[in-house]
């Protein structure tokens, strides 16, 4: 394994999260399409309410959040002249921000599953 640093890991994560969200988006389009069949749509919603999906949902949020924050870092590297010098610092700042948002949000999102609301 090549011992890359922040730049390489952030890229791998960006790619994985991007593809993950795309996969979800594709599924999501199909399920929304089923709005044309209201009963079927409502019936299938059990799927989204299943605890497994609730956990997956938290990861979906993580993926989107990470991808978005890292996207900002990429934009800074691309368009801010000093971006390449500070990309590592930006990465760590972004990860802190990520945790600050994601941990409370996921606790909140999971609370109905764990405690019932």
């Amino acid at each position: 394994m090549y011992r890359g640093r922040e730049g390489m890991w952030s890229w791998i994560l960006h790619r994985v999260t991007g593809l993950g969200i795309l996969l979800f988006l594709a599924i999501h389009i199909v399920d929304i399409y089923l709005l044309g069949w209201p009963d079927l749509f409502n019936k299938l919603l059990f799927f989204y309410r299943h605890p497994v999906f609730r956990v997956a949902e938290v990861f979906l949020a993580a993926a989107a959040l990470y991808h978005a924050l890292n996207g900002i870092r990429i934009l800074l590297v691309d368009f801010w002249v000093e971006g390449t010098r500070f990309h590592r610092q930006i990465f760590w700042a972004q990860m802190v921000l990520f945790l600050l948002i994601w941990i409370p949000a996921s606790l909140w999102m999971l609370s109905p599953v764990v405690f019932g609301r």
Binding site: M1, Y2, R3, G4, R5, E6, G7, M8, W11, I74, V77, D78, F79, G83, T84, R85, H87
Partner: protein
């Protein structure tokens, strides 16, 4: 100090596939990895093949994958690595033998970006004038020694070997931003393709790998911006 050196070896005359060979070498902590390789070659196994010349990081002969990162064997000290030390050829180029890789493709890409001053105007009798600021504009990229460490550390290049790679872009940058050059448009056109600058995903391995401390990603970003906006 004794150090265990693990070298990925392959001799097409003898071996079907690459294998790891291990050597115990006697070196000083302030010795370079190159010294350890030479120790093997001179005292343990003369068949080991690697390139080297200047031994102080200027000629660009001995870029290789050392402990998982691309570096010049002559520019990394044993004491900074400890033991064991693993050494492999650079990734993404065909291996000729042991640590020696075929660099022809690499140089073909270098040649593709027209790495020479383009200016048909008649020069003055003395020097062309260039202010210190204009000179400083492209200083960083003049340092490139074409060692290949950047290109072969780039995941985008590993994935798609047709990517022109950071080294070629660095050398294009060297001319694009030289106030005396008139070939920027030609070079930018060459880089403005599917296999040109746009394949760079700002992974930064190239910057970590560059033994000359060139901010490769910055150079690439500047080229991208030059393509996007006139004048920056």
């Amino acid at each position: 100090m004794r150090v265990l050196l693990k070298i990925k070896r392959f001799n097409p005359e003898r071996d079907r596939a690459p294998y790891w060979a291990e050597y115990e070498v006697e070196v000083e902590p302030v010795d370079r990895v190159l010294d350890a390789l030479e120790y093997v070659k001179w005292h343990l196994d003369g068949t080991l093949a690697f390139r080297r010349s200047c031994a102080h990081g200027i000629c660009g002969s001995d870029a290789m994958l050392i402990n998982g990162r691309n570096r010049l064997a002559c520019k990394v000290l044993i004491k900074d690595l400890g033991s064991p030390i693993t050494v492999e050829p650079m990734r993404g180029f065909p291996v000729i033998k042991d640590l020696v890789v075929d660099m022809e493709g690499f140089f073909a890409k270098y040649r593709a970006i027209k790495p020479y001053l383009i200016n048909d105007e008649l020069p003055p009798e003395t020097e062309r004038r260039q202010s210190p600021e204009e000179r400083a504009r492209f200083d960083d990229t003049t340092k490139c020694i074409l060692c290949g460490a950047c290109t072969t550390s780039c995941p985008s290049f590993w994935a798609n070997g047709e990517y022109i790679g950071p080294a070629a872009i660095v050398n294009a940058h060297r001319f694009i931003f030289d106030s005396r050059d008139r070939g920027a448009a030609e070079r930018l056109a060459i880089l403005n393709t599917r296999l040109g600058v746009w394949r760079c995903r700002t992974i930064f391995n190239c910057v970590e790998a560059c033994p000359r401390g060139i901010d490769v990603t910055r150079a690439i970003a500047e080229v991208k911006r030059a393509l996007l906006f006139s004048g920056t």
